[in-house]
Amino acid sequence: MSPPLPRSLEIMSHPVPTPSPVAAVSFRGVERHFGAVKAVDGVDLDIAPGEFFAMLGPSGSGKTTCLRLIAGFEQPTDGHISIFGDAVAGVPAYRRPVNTVFQDYALFPHMNVVENVCYGLMIRGVAKAERLRLGREALALVKLSGLETRKPGQLSGGQRQRVALARALVVRPKVLLLDEPLGALDLKLREDMQGELKALQRALGLTFVFVTHDQGEALSMADRVAVFNEGRIVQVGDPVEIYERPRTRFVADFVGSSNVIEPAVTKAWTGQARPASLRPEKIGLLAEGEAAPDGALVVPGRVLQVLYHGAVNRVELVTDEGSRLLAAIPAASAATPLQGAAVRAVFGRQALHLMESA
């Protein structure tokens, strides 16, 4: 028997959605132009109910505009958006069953914490006593009890973020949108919040759509990730897929660090003239006189420099044919070479992931 949920979670929980063919959010051929700029340039997308979905991309890639299209702050120039099967063309933000946690939190400075949290309930005409009860519950859910009467100006960044989260959750949205919610927090807090957000999403069974430019955040939290570039989705997949099998050079480069092997080099190694991605941690270094495992590729080269990263040493190599390779060698390993040393890099053929030519 699993331990019962805390009472507040039970109340906040939606009934677990029965598996439904209807997507929580669906985009079909969506475009959003700002003058001549195509911020969103033909996006097709299906987000499943209960999914933790990340939109990942550099700034200006269209991910935030997509989020604002779901929220209703922007209307598409072309294409169709539906939320749980309902077309939302022309439906203003205040009549959509979605809520947003804003990047700057957007707390109302003239209201205290509990007034902020209860704002949506007040607008819906919930009676004051009931409103306060739900507000306190939401604050307990984000572990912020006791700060009810503080003004937003008296809170730390992390606390403000929790208020924004409670304010969006208390009105029970069908989809929660989060616009770089951890961007303004410092590293330690950010890591804590990643775990908490993930746990909260699981407990509530809510659909979370999360915009971030931090690939680590997207990989660690999301069930699925859409990688955006120049207004289009380049690849959608679960984090492992995105990391292990990037479809294009852009994804390989943007998600984690990767060696992108030029087609000519790949051809020499495998016979196929396509660009390939090779993750640094997949590369090992052979010790003097050590034999390569069966089927592994061995590339001789020279060490340019070694950077100590705590858990790993990042070894920059230049191969004898002149291309550069980055290898991540566990710092505990005895194989860490010195700068200028001649070495043999080794990796399995399956570590070399062939990508699309474009």
């Binding site: 929220a71 209703g72 702050f73 933000a93 009549r95 957007a106 704002y119 009105v171």
Partner: protein, 314 residues
């Protein structure tokens, strides 16, 4: 040791050494910064104010017409005679109407300028709002007298579009009407409104400008219609600007003695009384007591505004 080499040797010059002191001694720097304005405020402004308060505690000897330099509340008692209370009530009413109308007219302009106007249009907005302040006050008031006169532009226009009946009906109304606009309270309020509107627009615009777009979006996101967003978020955040603007329009109207002399009915307004008492009548104590009235009213106004939560957003 090589310590001395790592730091630039102190170079001479009195000015440089002085700046070193300023950088090191923050308190001294602040004192230097604030001393001149504080002296100015303290002696010239507050000094004059307290001198005024002191004057109001003196009284005038009715037979000799000389000032009795003994503190008493006799002069304040004179304030409370019906004729003087009448003046105070009339002045407050005019000032309140001017302030309310200024707020109603200024808000949409300020809202547009803060939320929608960009670049060139915004520059044009500032010029348009400030331009009335560039010309002489008297020129503007006399220009309005001509506009408002019986044979003036407004009468001529109303006649031209066949609405002279409406104007006559307005002028026939008690209190706000009169023989012509230029000698009516309507005319006086119009002129005050014209003169003080920039002082209302600018603070309101500044307050609205500080409301982040994300707050308005957040309100809509949480289900508030544009009307609700305006009432619950935009207006409360603009309130400090409205109060600041109201302080300007209200106190400027309370103290003015030139407009009511040129435009409006013959009944006196507070500013005119102060002017008359300290000048022709030589009754400085009563003039001083009258001057205390606007100070009390403004204090009351701010207290009420604070109670109403107008400063919650600050």
């Amino acid at each position: 040791m090589s310590e001395a080499l790592t730091m630039a040797p102190p170079r001479g010059g009195l000015l440089r050494r002085f700046s070193d002191v300023l950088v090191r001694r923050h308190g001294f720097y602040l004192a230097l910064l604030l001393l001149p304005p504080l002296l100015w405020l303290g002696i010239v402004y507050l000094g004059a104010l307290f001198a005024l308060l002191a004057q109001s505690l003196f009284s005038i000897d009715e037979f000799s017409g000389t000032i009795v330099h003994e503190p008493s509340l006799k002069t304040y008692g004179e304030l409370l005679v019906p004729a003087n209370l009448d003046i105070i009530a009339r002045t407050i009413t005019v000032a309140a109407i001017v302030t309310a109308l200024a707020a109603i007219i200024a808000f949409p302009i300020a809202y547009y300028a803060a939320r929608y106007a960009r670049g060139r249009v915004k520059a044009l907005f500032y010029v348009a709002v400030m331009m009335p302040l560039w010309s002489s006050y008297l020129v503007k008031v006399y220009a309005w007298k001509l506009l408002l006169a019986k044979e003036g532009a407004i009468g001529w226009f109303m006649n031209g579009v066949g609405l002279s009946g409406l104007l006559d009906a307005w002028l026939a109304a008690p209190v706000i009407g009169g023989p012509s606009l230029s000698v009516s309270y309507t005319g006086m309020v119009l002129v005050f409104l014209y003169l003080w509107i920039p002082f209302m627009v600018l603070p309101v615009q500044a307050a609205l400008e500080r409301v982040p777009v994300s707050l308005i979006e957040a309100s809509g996101d949480l289900g508030a219609s544009p009307g609700q967003t305006f009432r619950k978020v935009i207006f409360p955040l603009a309130a400090p600007g409205l109060v600041a603007g109201s302080i300007f329009t209200f106190s400027l109207t309370l103290g003015d003695y030139i407009v009511p002399q040129i435009v409006g009915p013959s009944s006196l307004i507070l500013g005119q009384v102060v002017y008359a008492q300290q000048g022709l009548a030589g009754n400085i104590p009563l003039a001083a007591a009258f001057s205390v009235v606007p100070i009390l009213i403004m204090g009351l106004f701010l207290t009420v505004a604070k109670r109403a939560g107008a400063f919650d957003a600050l």
